[in-house]
Amino acid sequence: MIEKFLSTFEKRFGIAKNNFKRFSIFTYQNGVWMASREAGDFNRLRIQRRGIKIARVFPHTVKPTTNGMQLLGREVKKNRIELNKEEALRFCKGEKVKLRKRGVEKGFVVVFYKNFPLGVGLYKEGELKSQVPRARRIRG
């Protein structure tokens, strides 16, 4: 599962595998999680959670999380979409944004405002569907 995650992140987003070497990467249920080495090694108590979930692995795809891409987004070289301020706000509210981008493959993309990684979108047929979880969205 970790290998599938690493190769997808490398192939689809251009994040080299060795970017993750200094962290502890592990799986829990279908999630891939990232923690500092020390937090990854700690096993003295029963743990509720450790680090941050950065992706979910499904049979046919690997889906990065909003929290993960806000943290790793600066390393993304491919399948990036840049939004203007008005579009960015709509994206953060969980709305769809109509746009066409050259050089972006359909599927999961990382969405930016200026150089700030906002999260993950699903890009298909001229439409970007925000994947920001309900609890994380900007309201109003």
Binding site: E38, L45, Q48, N67, Q70, C92, F116, I138, G140
Partner: protein, 305 residues
């Protein structure tokens, strides 16, 4: 509220200086303050993104700011990105006093909802280890959400009674924060909630819980390590009395001076209702609302010899 202020006046007239000013400040609304979170972006980038908030530096903490902008800061793009964290100014102080280093092992014994956990992580630049503990599932959910938003990866979350930790992890941590559950008298400017739970008997019950927690926390500390104990209340039973209890119980506990440049603080009190504390207890600090226009806080810094 008025009735409650009268009770506070009666209770504290002998120990709180400028009592009228103190009570006046308890009625004033708090300024909106926030901390910038440099775990996900550079300081300058964040400041450029929040220029519309006209951030005014707190003056005594580089990452703390005041904004006078109306409206919901929680809906600002910088908040969505986790670059700013709404946090009351005085609640930023305990972590500054603890100042953990990058590779420390840190325990945050009563961590939820996580403003101080995420601040600890920022001091440590996401390295080392934080064990963030709390007892309630609901509060841990809030902690978890804040860890996600702030991008904290050096933290494990546990759910247990902090009083058990001393036996399970003796001499394990370099730094410990015990921001103890308390009667929250200092938070009245933010919310009136504390008012409804406040009673002499709850102060007594909390004091006993705090003594249990601080003993356990001290056992978790390595030799040479530092424990910061804080509350957001004025009640001496939950503050100096708890520290006095610790110093009496553990010969290797030594209280250290606290100084945050630019911040006005007052000494710990030496006695209360017939009880006399060790003179050392003066090294604790009390932060009154009128001193820095914040909530009220109490902070002590203890080293294990």
């Amino acid at each position: 509220m008025r009735k409650f202020l009268t009770r506070l006046r009666e209770r504290y007239e002998e120990i709180i200086p400028d009592l009228n000013l103190f009570l006046d400040y308890l009625l004033l609304p708090l300024k909106t303050t926030f901390r910038i979170n440099t775990l996900k972006a550079e300081r300058e980038e964040i400041l450029s993104l929040i220029s519309d908030l006209n951030p005014i530096p707190l003056g005594w903490y580089r990452d703390g700011f005041i904004t006078e902008k109306e409206g919901r800061i929680g809906n600002h793009l910088a908040h969505f990105l986790g670059y700013i964290y709404l946090q009351e100014a005085a609640s930023m102080i305990p972590v500054i006093v603890l100042s953990p280093q990058q590779d420390d092992r840190v325990l945050d014994m009563a961590a939820a909802p996580g403003s101080k956990t995420t601040q600890l992580a920022q001091f440590m630049d996401n390295h080392g280890l934080i064990v963030a503990n709390d007892t309630s599932i609901k509060r841990i959910k809030a902690l978890s959400g804040n860890i996600d938003r702030a991008g904290v990866i050096n933290t494990v979350v546990t759910r247990m009674d902090g009083r058990r930790m001393g036996r399970l992890l003796p001499e394990y941590f370099d730094k410990i924060l015990l921001d103890a559950p308390c009667s929250a008298e200092g938070t009245l400017r933010k919310s009136k909630e504390a008012l409804y739970r406040w009673s002499e008997s709850s102060i007594k019950r909390l004091s006993s819980l705090q003594k249990g927690l601080i003993s356990s926390a001290f056992r978790c500390l390595k030799k040479g390590g530092v424990l910061v104990y804080s509350t957001c209340t004025f009640a001496p039973e939950e503050n100096e009395e708890v520290i006095d209890f610790l110093l009496k119980k553990f010969e290797d506990a030594k209280l250290e001076e606290i100084e945050v440049k630019g911040l006005k603080t007052r000494e710990g009190i030496e006695g209360w209702r017939g009880k006399e504390y060790r003179e050392e207890v003066k090294r604790c600090v009390r932060i009154y609302p009128q001193d820095n226009d914040t909530e009220g806080f109490f902070i002590a810094r203890v080293r294990k010899l």
